[in-house]
Amino acid sequence: MTMLETRPVAAPSLPTEKRPNPLPGLAMFCWAVVTALPLLWAVISSFKTDDEILNSPWSLPASPQWDNWARAWTAASIGRYFLNSLIVVGAALLLTMLLGSLVAYALARYEFRGNRAIYYTFVAAMFFPVFLALVPLFFVVQQLGLLGTYAGLILVYTAYAVPFTVFFLHSFFRTLPSEIAEAAVLDGCSHGAVFFRVMLPLARPGLVAVGIFNFLGLWNQYLLPLVLNPDPDRYVLAQGLAALSVSQGYRSDWSGLFAGLTIAMLPVLVAYVAFQRHIRAGMTAGAVK
């Protein structure tokens, strides 16, 4: 390794650091400000009156306007969109985890003809841009009569989240020791019972990681609902917020829009503060795998 070539060192100057360079600290602080400032600004603006927003963008609100939040939640339907997101994402997440872990486990722990073919069929789908499928997918969903329904969105979300889940959990199930499963089989457990009672609990860390990853991916989904979910009553949060930013812009209810934006950010922020270590670990593991 060339980088380790030894060079005569005049004096081992290792412990006596020179004057600390202020640049690293300053750079890190600056990026923190760049990241946090727009977010804080949106939260603060959600408590201001329209007049304050338009005339003094950098000031604090004279008195907090809680009414903005109430208006966004009810009149602007953010509450309904929130509920829709919760229903669709909750159901899709459960279904994805169930189907994804079943497939990953079956492919990782059973030898049979076509095993590799099925595995690659799932994994290959991860490399295709969703845009390619968009047009035919719209007509498939329409022909099944599922356009603009919760069920349609849940099934499509699941179908597009399963490949990564299989890919991630497949390697995970491979690493689990087989002795425990064999012991359970000798004890008379059925295949299903071995999976649900023994292997699934063992895979918990992997399930948590991929579950967090899937939740965020599905919660933030925009393109699929935009095409498959045209009914405003069933808009998910991202979709509703985008529609709102157009319509509120015309009505110039800026404060209501800032409140809606803040409501959309809040649950993610709360979850992040509570689980931040898990979330960062889960999401970066997803990228490295």
Partner: protein, 296 residues
């Protein structure tokens, strides 16, 4: 037991496979066929037109704008994001653990937000009169630098790029920090003993050893840059404007299909996007194979 084995396997695989075939595989396959037709959505009235759609793409100036913009995004967004991400990650290595942890928490947060939330937020930030950016510039006495960021063709695409970089840097800081923490400490100590400065340590020790992570980052960021749909569709004027300045392939496809109902033509755009993505992935993986640095 053998009987139970097959029943379990069927039960485990069939439901997911059915969903996969119906909602994922069959649409992908159909897209290639549709791209060779002039279909406008009426059942049974798809005429085979061969490569006509692809020929038309070559003369469609808005689509060519989109290709140009995606190409620019593809070059600028990954490079800037990775540069900033690596810089901050190597700064974090030498900072105090507590402070570093705090910074990581803040940096990472935008990664969790939906791109729609980010786009609406930055739409406000860029607002020419009341936005954070212009009013901040004016407060600093730099009012001359204020612009209608999203309305001026010279700035609109840069504004989109800035948003994409802003939203992804934090994720890559965390990813790169994890990779840098995986480098044995002795290597950094040896470099320090050898009198290597900050830059030499970074370019000779850190960078070669996180190369693979950087390549993964290039693929992910490249795919995101080929997309950019949500930010453009929600934030820019038009959307895609002014005058095609922020048009991207995804937006062209969406509009062609779901506003104009030219489903065959839109599918050809999807196929073009697919080949762009494929080329990107293959190139990145190839360059990854060539030289692989191994630690003793």
């Amino acid at each position: 037991m053998r009987h139970g084995r097959w029943r379990f396997l069927l039960g485990a695989l069939v439901p997911a496979l059915v969903l996969h075939v119906v909602f994922v595989l069959s649409p992908y396959a159909q897209a290639f066929w549709l791209s060779l037709t002039d279909w406008t959505g009426v059942a049974g009235e798809a005429q085979f037109v061969g490569a006509d759609n692809y020929v038309r793409l070559g003369g469609d100036s808005l689509f060519l704008d989109a290709v140009r913009n995606n190409a620019l995004l593809l070059v600028v967004v990954p490079l800037v994001t990775i540069a900033v991400g690596l810089f901050l990650a190597s700064m974090l290595r030498t900072s105090s653990p507590r402070l570093g942890q705090g910074y990581r928490i803040v940096y990472f947060f935008p990664q969790l937000l939906s791109l729609v939330v980010i786009a609406v937020l930055w739409g406000f930030v860029y607002n020419p009169n009341t936005g954070l950016l212009n009013s901040g510039l004016r407060a600093l006495g730099l009012g001359g630098l204020a612009h209608s960021w999203l309305a001026e063709p010279a700035f609109a695409l840069m504004a989109v790029m800035a948003v994409l970089v802003w939203s992804s840097v934090g994720f890559y800081v965390v990813l790169f920090s994890a990779a840098i923490e995986g480098i044995p400490r002795e290597l950094f100590e040896a470099a320090l003993l050898d009198g290597a400065g900050k830059w030499a340590t970074f370019s000779r020790v850190t960078l070669p050893l996180v190369r693979e992570t950087v390549q993964v980052a290039f693929v992910y960021l490249g795919i995101a840059a080929l997309d950019a749909f949500a930010v453009v569709q929600v934030m820019t004027v038009g959307p895609g404007g002014p005058d095609g300045a922020t048009e991207v392939i995804g937006l062209s496809l969406y509009r062609t299909a779901f506003t104009y109902g030219k489903f065959g033509y839109a599918s050809a755009m999807g196929v073009a996007l697919f080949f762009a993505t494929l080329t990107l992935a293959v190139l990145a993986l190839r360059s990854g194979r060539r030289e692989r640095l191994e630690l003793a």
